[in-house]
């Protein structure tokens, strides 16, 4: 890890100002950032510590929405009774992430904004497209963990399970940066490679997630892993049935991947086994697997089916 200057802001405004400086990098729990620093993927001049900022770890349920501060830890999301009641799909996603030790420090904001776990991206030696190079090494390489949708330019999968759940819940994010505040629907937060292959989201320099608003609605989250003790997903699905349904695939594409055909099928309908199977099949339409990840399609389909049955109260 290259040496850096540690910046310890006492309030949000000064954090934003410090984070907007050239060569600055925000750090909350420090798990993802620490990993990138150790791998020399990032070598910031200053690390702006958000962890001690006050008042950003709130959990609030009011009316039809759950409001979460960006510094709420994954452990809190997994265990807090209010969150589990209001957004079980989100709680399940947080509980399935990483290890107990990591969940105790990893934050919601950091989890949503973490960088990909692609094993090429994470290795200093591979100057891939996402790091400003000209190649995606995964497309013709070891791609069993990679994207089956939207994988022409860069085959990463979005690493955040909470992002998959929040997309299904139709969350919105309140951002604050040097230019002020804005609210971004979660669908508009993530950036596809064709728009900008070097970033995963719309956060500008110095801009932070300051609140995550989660509508309270019925939803379910399913994660399929090769092993059950700490693993990244082979496939993920989060679904919210109803009049404005959402079906979202995780570990499938560079962003949480919505499946409009599946959504159209279930719109306003009660989920039964037959419909779940049908919608799951629709959800994987258009997938274009790479050489080593065709198996993921069956897993994604199963994840969607199981999530629909869980959300629909059938299973």
């Amino acid at each position: 890890m290259k040496a850096f200057t540690w910046v310890e802001p006492e309030d949000l405004q000064s954090a934003i100002a410090a984070g907007a400086q050239r060569g600055a990098l925000f750090k909350a729990g420090g798990v993802d950032v620490g990993d990138r620093l150790k791998e020399h993927i990032d070598e910031p001049a200053t690390l702006v510590n958000l962890r001690r900022l006050q008042g950003l770890d709130f959990v609030d349920v009011d009316g039809g929405a759950l409001r979460l501060g960006p510094l709420v830890t994954l452990a809190t999301i997994a265990d807090d009774a209010r969150i589990r009641k209001a957004a079980p799909a989100l709680a399940d996603a947080a509980a399935a992430a990483a290890t107990p030790q990591i969940r105790n420090v990893a934050t919601l904001g950091g989890n949503i904004a973490q960088r990909p776990r692609c094993w090429y991206f994470r290795k200093e030696d591979f100057h891939c497209r996402r790091k400003g190079g000209t190649t995606c090494f995964a497309i013709d390489g070891q791609n069993e963990m990679h994207a089956v949708f939207d994988n022409d330019l860069c085959a990463i999968v979005h690493p955040s399970g909470t992002a998959t759940a929040l997309t299904a819940l139709g969350a919105s994010l309140l951002l604050r940066g040097p230019g002020g505040e804005r609210t971004v629907a979660i669908d508009d937060f993530f950036v596809r490679p064709e728009r900008d292959v070097m970033r995963e989201n719309v956060l500008q320099p110095g801009e932070l997630i300051v609140e995550v608003r989660v509508p309270i609605r019925q939803a379910a989250y399913v994660k399929l892993m090769e092993k059950q003790s700490f693993d990244w997903p082979l496939a993920e699905a989060a679904v919210a049935p109803g009049a404005e349904p959402r079906v979202v695939l995780g570990a499938a594409a560079p962003v949480p991947w919505r499946a409009p055909k599946a959504e159209a099928l279930i719109k306003g309908r009660k989920i039964d086994e037959q419909l779940a199977v049908q919608a799951a099949k629709a959800a994987i339409e258009g997938a274009r697997p790479l050489q080593r990840n065709e198996y993921k399609i069956a897993l994604l389909q199963t994840a969607v089916k199981r999530a629909l049955l869980a959300a629909g109260g059938v299973a």
Partner: protein, 997 residues
């Protein structure tokens, strides 16, 4: 209630509290103040800043760089080395500490983030000499093997019990799901945590000496504990003659399996005590005995080589080749030499590990040719680890990248880049491995090494009414011990000392003496505790040589431990295999012909053979095996827990099941038809009963979750080769010491020695101090090959008998300690293991091997291909069991490592660049707490009369059949066979669809 105090969190950090004398930060803040309206944030570093950390209840003032992780500060500055580093990326949990009331990965926590919060390390858990209940429970249940992951595991359990006073086993599994134990101790961890939760507050804090007595109840199966001789001669005359005849050679003793014991005449070396045979009734040996070094391991006091910190010690970092095949044109260390803290640099002149060319290449360059990614090129020693790493990055290596080959199929094609320009040879290590000599070599293929028995194989096939031909494949597995390879090297004029993470201190001594042209008398190697080895930790290694060169140059001790990435790349692995198996059989199942043609890759080393099972498991009338090494530009393999056997079992034991299917015979019946080994027959019989094989086999599952059961068996060899010596001292104050230069990698040799001494001297194991892990002690055996306890305990017993005789003289009735006190001097018994009583040449061929059979049940999700191993019954023979607790732990661990190998582990290499992409503990998957089946370990005593303790090994056999049993169970569950390891969801789904994957 769990008897510990929850610490409350959050002493709130104030700006004033944080900045202690940080003048630089203050002036930087003043500068910023003019520029913005907001209060400017405090800035620290990049150099060291003063902080105060509250650790284990004490305020500690420190100078740390902002980039310093909490674990590095705890270990290197506060010398709290109980907290370990395994992966340094938050994946393995070895670094778990409490910050406030939550467990965190201290390797992913910046030290500055811990300011203002109470930190508790493993050292803070015990109250003085009082173990916390969770620690005492870990010791009592043997919830530790090598012990390197133990502090982290204990902390995670402690954290769980603070939150949940009565957890379920599932709660425990979840709580430790972020802690990787490579020895596979999980089942005992679950037991320990549940016991600790039940410990009443009044019992909180068990005195360390007050451990459960030998003979405390254990889950050990009582199978082997039956009355030794049923209806037989309970006490033979020879048994009674135990201590009489030093001069006589002919002895009779009782050998065989429980229920079938019989006396046997054998020649015994002069001076040997009567062997403990099937009729011997022992007080300590054979009892479940908590490890005598358990308290050291659960408190973090056990000093692994990783933890050695000497005055003036420097830290080393290595610059490694990023390319798989390359020629180094120049190495420039001048920039590195001027970096802060740097004391010495070294450029590697010679690389150990790869196969050696028989004829040295004429155009040998100045630098060794690079044959694998991660090959060490140069190194630097500096005041701190961070400085060393900074400087290593400043070493300039001018390198010409050459074409590489990293795929075993590609390497066999004509025109593939060559790994070696000519014939090579490969020496083995004390842990096995190595390759046959004078073998043909063409292109990248070295072989075949041929073994034949019984005649013409083609004719035998032609005459076989039933034939089967299949191909099986396995991939490369890395050892992944949680303590990486490394040493602390201390070069002095009067001799060198290496504190090595090793399985064989003498193999380190030998290699260093040779490399540095030093007499062995000037090379001392110490290894008090070793954090796992599994076969890969023999010899000094490149790291050992590099560290010693640096120490010689800097005139200071140098610590060099590999990071996790280098550990995967550069210090060994289990070779891959491609096995073509042909079987010819009679209609009744008798094996008439058995042939294996194997290709495997040990990377740029030789020794990928896997014919052991085919050659030894079944007496097919005609047998032929051909083993070929395929060289690749990847890291050299090393001996790995039963080298060749898990791979070989995966092929052969599946082929046997496939034959059974074809013949319509039960797989166990087919084995009974062919395999006459009495121990294995008994293992199959006992295991089938316990597992309820017939019932489970017949059960049909419906729905998408399919259950299936499978069996496989394996064998290993009764090695009797290595020198072993020991001495037993009874001091003039009556205290007792046992000394031998053996390393403990988790098998529990300290405790086994203490048990044997205790048995002979009539004391308890806790009253024996055992000193091991130092070449200054009498030479012990290497800890590998499943021979440690088997080789050493006979010497220990003989030494103890001699000490006893000296102490007591003719008065055999009195207490040895009292006798020594009365004598007023220490008495000493020394023994070198006397030659085994004809050993291998024993007329009973079945005593040359040990082994076991394993039954597993799996659940396969047919929609996802995800496999879960639900339960396992393992029956293993290991001669006379010494410590049932430790044997159970080893069997558990063998099965868990086998589950991991079967379902998850594979080294993944980017074929275009030859670089490993999963050299971590995140994408290199190792089965964890939630992947562990319910395991029932059954120990079958098998008396062979081979030494005076009649012990055999268990470490290796326990992992041999697991992967094959799982594959057979998956085939039974889904009606389709996966013939490649690991059994990934992709492969299981493909098999279900009937397409090859």
């Amino acid at each position: 209630m769990y008897g510990a105090i929850a610490m409350s969190d959050q002493t709130k950090l104030t700006r004033r509290g944080f900045v202690k004398g940080a003048g630089v930060a203050a002036s930087a803040a003043a500068l910023l103040e003019g520029a913005t309206k907001e209060r400017p944030p405090a800035r620290f570093g990049p150099g060291a800043v003063s902080i105060s950390l509250n650790v284990n209840g004490e305020e500690r003032r420190l100078q740390v760089e902002p980039r310093a992780t909490l674990v590095s500060v705890l270990r290197d500055q506060l010398h709290l080395t109980g907290t370990k580093i395994g992966c340094d990326r938050g994946a393995c949990g070895a670094c778990t500490v409490m910050v406030g009331d939550t467990p965190v990965a201290s390797c992913m926590t910046f030290a500055l983030d811990a300011v203002g919060k109470p930190v508790m390390t493993i050292e803070g858990l015990a109250r003085g000499d009082q173990l916390a209940p969770i620690q005492a429970a870990f010791v009592a249940h043997d919830a530790l093997q090598c012990g390197f992951c133990t502090p982290g595991m204990v902390m995670s359990c402690h954290a769980l019990l603070l939150k949940n006073a009565s957890p379920s086993e599932e709660d425990v599994r979840r709580a430790v799901s972020g802690n990787t134990c490579r020895c596979g101790t999980y089942p005992k961890v679950f037991e320990a945590a549940l016991t600790a939760a039940r410990t009443p507050p009044s019992r909180a804090g068990v005195a360390q000496g007050e451990l459960p007595p030998p003979g405390a109840p254990s889950k050990a199966d009582a199978w082997g504990n039956r009355s030794p001789v049923e209806g037989g001669t309970a006490e033979t005359d020879a048994g009674k003659a135990q201590d009489k005849g030093e001069g006589t050679n002919e002895r009779s003793f009782v050998v065989g399996l429980p229920g079938a014991l019989a006396p046997k005449e054998r020649k015994v070396p002069p001076g040997e005590p009567q062997p403990w045979d099937g009729s011997a009734r022992l007080r300590v040996v054979g009892q479940p005995t908590p490890r005598i070094d358990g308290p050291e391991k659960v408190t973090g006091r056990a000093r692994y080589s990783f933890d050695v910190q000497l005055p003036g010690m420097l830290y080393a970092a290595v610059a490694r080749s990023p390319h798989a095949h390359a020629r180094i044109k120049s190495v420039d260390v001048s920039a590195a030499q001027t970096m802060p803290g740097v004391a010495a640099t070294y450029v590697v002149e010679r690389v150990l590990g790869p196969a050696k060319l028989k004829l040295k290449s004429a155009a040998r360059g100045k630098y060794p040719l690079v044959r694998y990614e991660g090959q060490p090129v140069a190194a630097v020693a500096a005041q701190t680890q961070a400085q060393a790493e900074d400087a290593a990055r400043a070493i300039r290596i001018d390198i010409e990248v050459l074409p590489h080959v990293a795929d075993i199929d590609d390497a066999r094609k004509p025109g593939a880049p060559l790994v070696f320009p000519g014939p090579v040879e490969q020496a083995g290590t004390a842990g096995g491995g190595g390759a046959a000599k004078d073998v043909p070599q063409e292109g990248n293929v070295r072989g075949p090494v041929v073994a034949e028995r019984g005649g013409d194989i083609e004719r035998a096939f032609a005459e076989s009414p039933v034939r089967l031909e299949q191909e099986y494949r396995t991939e490369v597995q890395t050892h992944s011990a949680i303590e990486t390879h490394g040493v602390v090297a201390d070069w002095r004029h009067d001799g060198v000392t290496l504190y090595a993470s090793t399985q064989g201190i003498h193999s380190v001594q030998d290699e260093i003496a040779t490399l540095f042209k030093l007499p062995k008398s000037k090379v001392r190697v110490i290894s008090e505790f070793t954090g796992g080895g599994f076969g890969a930790k023999f010899g000094a290694g490149n790291y050992g040589a590099i560290a010693l060169h640096l120490s010689k140059k800097a005139k200071r001790p140098v610590r060099l431990f590999l990071d996790r990435r280098a550990e995967h790349l550069a210090v060994g692995n289990r070779p891959s295999s491609i096995q073509q198996i042909r079987i010819g059989a009679a209609k009744d199942g008798e094996l008439l012909a058995l042939q294996l043609t194997a290709h495997g890759s040990a990377g740029c080393a030789a020794g990928a053979g896997c014919a052991g099972p085919v050659k030894n498991l079944y007496p097919a009338r005609v047998m032929r095996s051909e083993e070929n090494d395929v060289f690749l530009h990847t890291g050299p393999a090393a001996a790995f827990r039963a080298p060749g056997h898990p791979q070989g079992a995966f092929g052969l034991e599946q082929a046997i099941d496939e034959l059974a299917e074809k013949l319509g015979i039960d797989p166990l019946a087919l084995r009974d038809r062919n395999d006459q080994h009495p121990a294995r027959r008994e293992e199959r019989r006992v295991g089938a009963q316990k597992f309820r094989w017939a019932e489970a086999r017949a059960r049909k599952s419906s729905g998408t979750l399919k259950r299936g059961v499978g069996f496989a068996q394996g064998l290993w060899y009764n090695f009797d080769r290595s020198p072993s010596s020991a001495e037993v001292l009874i001091h003039d104050d009556g205290s007792i010491e046992c000394r031998s230069g053996v390393a403990d990698i988790g098998g529990g040799i300290r405790t086994a020695c203490a048990q044997v001494v205790a048995e002979v001297l009539g004391v308890s194991p806790n009253e024996v101090d055992v000193r091991i892990g130092d070449t200054a002690l009498p030479q012990g055996p290497p800890s590998g090959g499943s021979q440690t306890t088997q080789m050493l305990t006979p010497a220990v017993r003989l030494a103890a008998e001699r000490a006893k005789r000296e102490a007591l003289g003719l008065d055999a009735t009195s207490d040895v300690r009292a006798a020594a006190r009365k004598l007023g001097r220490a008495v000493r018994g020394y023994a070198s293991r006397a030659r085994d009583y004809d050993g291998w040449q024993d007329d009973d061929k079945f005593t040359a091997t040990i082994g076991g059979g394993q039954f597993v049940e799996v659940e396969v999700d047919t929609e996802t291909g995800i496999v879960r191993v639900v339960r396992a019954v393992a029956v293993h023979d290991c001669g006379r069991p010494v410590n049932r607790l430790a044997i159970e732990s080893q069997i558990n661990g063998g099965i868990i490592q086998g589950v991991s190998y079967a379902l998850h582990e594979r080294r993944t290499i980017d074929l275009q660049t030859g670089k490993m992409v999963n050299a971590d503990l995140e994408h290199y998957r190792i089965a964890g707490a939630r992947d562990v089946p319910k395991i029932e370990a059954v120990i079958l005593e098998h008396f062979r009369g081979r030494t005076n303790t009649d012990v055999s090994g268990i470490g290796e056999p326990a992992t041999v059949p697991t992967c094959a049993a799982i594959a057979n169970a998956v085939a039974h569950a889904i009606g389709a066979r996966v013939r490649s390891l690991p059994l990934t969801p992709a492969r299981v789904l493909a098999a279900l669809k009937g397409v090859p994957a």
